[in-house]
Each structure stands twice: as C-alpha cells, then as structure tokens.
C-alpha cells in the first residue's frame, strides 16, 4: 500500500485534532455555550470517520 508514512502522519494529526475537539467541547460545556458543544458533536463524528478510515489502517499496518 502506497504512502504508509503519510498514513501515520495523518493518524497523528487526527489524534491531535480529536484531542483539541474534546478540549473545545469541554470548554463549551463548562462555559454553557451550547453552540460550541453541539457543533463539536458533529465535528467529532467526522473525526471518528477519519479514525476508522485512516488510524485503524495505520495501526494495523504498524506504520
């Protein structure tokens, strides 16, 4: 499979984005700003898809 290094790099970026999104959601929740919390729910769903598409493949390839 082409680009295994890129896949690992992508997986690392996805992990960072996930972490940031979770932080943002928590901040929104604690500050009672609903639009932040609920937009991150949607964002997190997309991040999850990237995990299923890329991170899972990277992990299994040991890339």
């Amino acid at each position: 499979m082409a680009g295994e290094t890129n896949i690992r790099e992508m997986a690392n970026l996805i992990a960072n984005i996930k972490q940031d999104a979770e932080k943002l959601k928590e901040l929104g929740k604690n500050s009672n700003i609903k639009c932040v919390e609920m937009n991150v729910v949607r964002m997190s769903a997309m991040i999850k898809m990237l995990e299923l598409d890329i991170t899972d493949a990277a992990d299994i390839l040991g890339a």
């Binding site: 680009g3 997309m46 299923l52 598409d53």
Partner: protein, 443 residues
C-alpha cells in the same frame, strides 16, 4: 492496484488481505465488547450462550457468537426505553435519527442512530458512490419519497459528501420527476430496479426515449435486480448508461457494492463489515467460491443499536475472481442470489424466484412487470406466472409461453401455468416490488 483516484480510501480498500483479516478481527472484538457492555439484548444473548467478549481470540472463535435476526430487535423493542427497547447501547437522548424497516416480514424494526452513526452511514455510502464514479461534476437526482424508511437518505448525504450536487425528487410524481431530471440535466440517479424500469416506461409514455435524458450512471438498491444480468441489461439498454448495484438493510447498514470495473457481483465493504457466508444446512462458514450460503452481517462501527452477527436472510456465494479494480475486498458472485425465506421447495425442487426474473427479463417480448404465485391444488404445488407482452407483440402468447417454458425448464427445472395480462395492467411499484407470493405459507 489502479491509480489512487480509483478509491475513496486506498488505505483500507487495498489493504493486504492478511492485514484486512487482522483489522476485521480487531474491529469485531471491539463491537462485541461494546454490545455486551451496553446492550441488555446482547448481554442476555451472550450470557445464555456462556460467552464473554474475551473468549473471542481468533477468527475461528467468531462462530461461537450467537446469531440474531430482525426478530431479535423486534422482541427487544417491547422493552424500555421506548421505542427501541433494550438493544439500545446509548442514552436515549443521544439518538438523533429515527428510521424503520418496511415491515414486509412483520412488525417494523425501529432503527436509532446517533450523529456519529449517521456520519458513518454517509461515509460507507461515499465509498460506494466514489467506486461507481460519482464525482463533483455530477448532479444527482433522488426520486425517493424521503420518509421513515432509510432507503436513499444515506445516498443523499453521501452524494453531498463526495461533492455532487444533490436534487431531491421527494414529493413529485413519476412524470414530474422525469421532467425535473430533464430540465436540470441530471447526470445520475438512484432507485430500485423496479423504479428504474418504471421511470423508463414513464419516459416512453411522455413520448421520450430515456436515453435522451443523457443520464451517465444509476445506482440501484433495495432489490436484487441490479445484479440479475438480464434485468441489469434492460436497465442499461433503456437508459444508455451503466447501472451499479448496491446492497444493505436498515438494521445492518449498506455493506456491498459494485464498482466501475464491474466485477460480476458485489464487493463486500470489508473495512467496515464482516460478511460471513454460512452453509444453508449445517451453518458452517463457507470460504470456498461458488457455494451458496446465507449471509450473516456484522457492522463494526454502528454504535446506537449494533448489528452483530445478524442473519440477513439473503443468500450468496463467493466469487473465485479478484476484481481488476485492485480492491482487496472480496466479491459476491452475481450479487444476492435470493432470500432464505423465498427459497423453498416447489414440487420437491429447490426454487428461487430470482431465477424467474432472470428468464422473464431476458425475453424482449415480455414487459418489465410480472407476478409469480405458488399455491397448492390438492397436494400438488402449482406456480402461476402472470406476464405482460410488450406493445407490438400482441397475439404472440402461444409462442412466448413455449419459449418461457423452455427457458424456465432449463433455469429452474419446473413447469408453470402462464397467464397473459394486458400491457400496463399488472401492479406497478414506486419502491420495492412484491412480485412473489407463496400462498402455501398462508394456509
């Protein structure tokens, strides 16, 4: 492997087979644990079988996991929380989308999805649309009455996701849909095989050749016709473009699809699903090609109401060929071959209605619609085939019935009673057709 642009996700779609199996096992264990820990339905089932998630260590262990079917969800629905019951794995307030099955085989099953599940639906469909050549240059028309049935909802959102322009044809009748497709110069649409043929007929009634709409591709779902060669040929000849098949179910998600390389069947989306074929008699897993088995599905990543080893009641066989597209996903030869609840013995012979469809649709004298009724007369099974002659073939009943008898004898090894009906008089369907009735089961 083809150029990277062939794939929505080359990382998964071209994963070496041994890595793919490794990934599937990891994902199977993950969803099994989730179901066991979160759903009373699955916990009950697994405890009764004396099974703990950690008992599943190898590929062979998977067959120890009990199989469920649609009925399992139905039973669970009678429990709290309403309306999903105790198959639900998440708090009720996290459910964002409701759908239900059509109820063809009993009380409808209610399907909850979270926003993540819904994103997942769009994601898996994106794989299929991309594989079928849908791109941002496409204007996709969806002639579907958006309602409680899941049907093309996910197709709609996936088409958006891959960059297409999407036009909903929800509240329009067939004529209005055709005119809208023509006016907007739609390049693609999605429908059941029955409706693809029905819309072609609708075009002709309006004095148009469907080919004049310049549709470039059609996605079929909901019925096996998209993989029945003669039905596919009829659709492709009528519209002058490739027709791609796709398969799924409300409670499972969409798990199989055809790509532009047309592998002679359906790819299984093995990055997101485990599709097992089990021997019709023994229930043992089938790995070899060309042997019919019932399809048992696990959706790895659908979380609100997981689908873990669910009997789809569909029947298929593995292909012995790899697809030229370079995907390492296996192919089901000829797509779905029938349903276990439709395949039955008639006059002592194993009979599948799909075989009749293949014969009817191979004869240009016959219209697209037909009906097949099996009933008992005394102790004898009788199969009645109601058909329509296409315009221009009136008065040829005798010759047509002789040809039907020859072809059906070869294909099914059975004799039929024929009934000719005037063109346009048999029922027309907007979504799934109900052409097969086994009245022996109603006795």
């Amino acid at each position: 492997m083809q150029s990277l642009d062939t794939y929505w996700n080359p990382a998964l779609e071209t994963l070496p087979v041994e890595k793919l199996r490794e990934l599937q096992l990891v994902k199977f264990k993950r969803i099994l644990k989730w179901g066991y820990e979160r759903s009373k339905l699955y916990r009950r089932l697994y405890e009764a079988a004396g099974l703990m998630p950690e008992d599943i260590k190898t590929w062979d262990d998977i067959k120890k996991v009990p199989i469920i079917d649609k009925g399992s969800y139905r039973e669970a629905q009678y429990k709290e929380p309403w309306p999903y019951g105790d198959s639900l794995c998440i708090p009720l307030e996290d459910v964002t989308v409701y759908h239900q099955t059509s109820g063809t085989t009993g009380q409808p099953v209610f399907q909850p999805d979270t926003w993540q599940d819904w994103e997942w639906q769009a994601e898996i469909w994106s794989h299929y649309l991309w594989a079928m050549g849908f791109r941002n240059t496409d204007r996709v028309f969806i002639p579907f009455g958006y309602n409680v049935f899941i049907a093309y909802w996910a197709g709609h959102y996936a088409a958006e996701k891959v960059g297409c322009e999407v036009v909903s044809g929800a509240m329009l009748n067939t004529e209005e849909r055709i005119m809208k497709m023509k006016d907007l110069r739609a390049t693609a649409f999605m429908a059941t095989p029955t409706y693809v043929l029905g819309m072609a007929d609708g075009c002709r009634k309006l004095g148009m050749d469907p080919r004049d709409l310049h549709i470039k591709k059609i996605l079929c779902a909901g019925e096996p016709g998209g993989s029945v060669p003669t039905t596919k040929r009829r659709m492709e000849e009528a519209w002058g473009c490739p027709v791609y098949d796709h398969v799924g179910a409300t409670e499972m998600g969409s798990w199989g699809y055809e790509c532009t390389f047309k592998p002679g069947g359906l790819h299984v989306n093995e990055g997101f699903f485990l599709v097992e074929l089990l021997d019709l008699e023994t229930g043992e897993p089938i790995e070899e090609p060309n042997k019919l088995g019932r399809i048992v599905i696990t959706a790895f990543d659908r979380m609100a109401q997981p689908c873990i080893r669910c009997d789809s009641k569909d029947v298929a066989m593995w292909s012995d060929k790899n697809c030229e597209c370079g995907r390492t996903y296996r192919v089901l030869k000829g797509g779905i071959q029938g349903r276990t609840d439709h395949i039955s013995k008639v006059k002592g012979v194993l009979f599948s209605p799909v075989a009749v469809e293949e014969v009817v649709r191979s004869m240009p004298q016959l219209g697209d619609e037909y009906e097949l009724i099996v009933k008992k007369e005394g102790d004898i099974d009788k199969i009645i085939l109601k058909y329509e002659l296409n315009p221009g073939f009136e008065g040829q009943e005798k010759e047509v019935e002789a040809e039907l008898a020859r072809n059906l004898r070869v294909k099914t090894n059975l004799g039929y009673v024929y009934e000719s009906h005037p063109y346009g008089s048999l029922p027309r369907y907007l979504v799934k057709a109900k052409r097969y009735k086994d009245l022996r089961k109603e006795l």
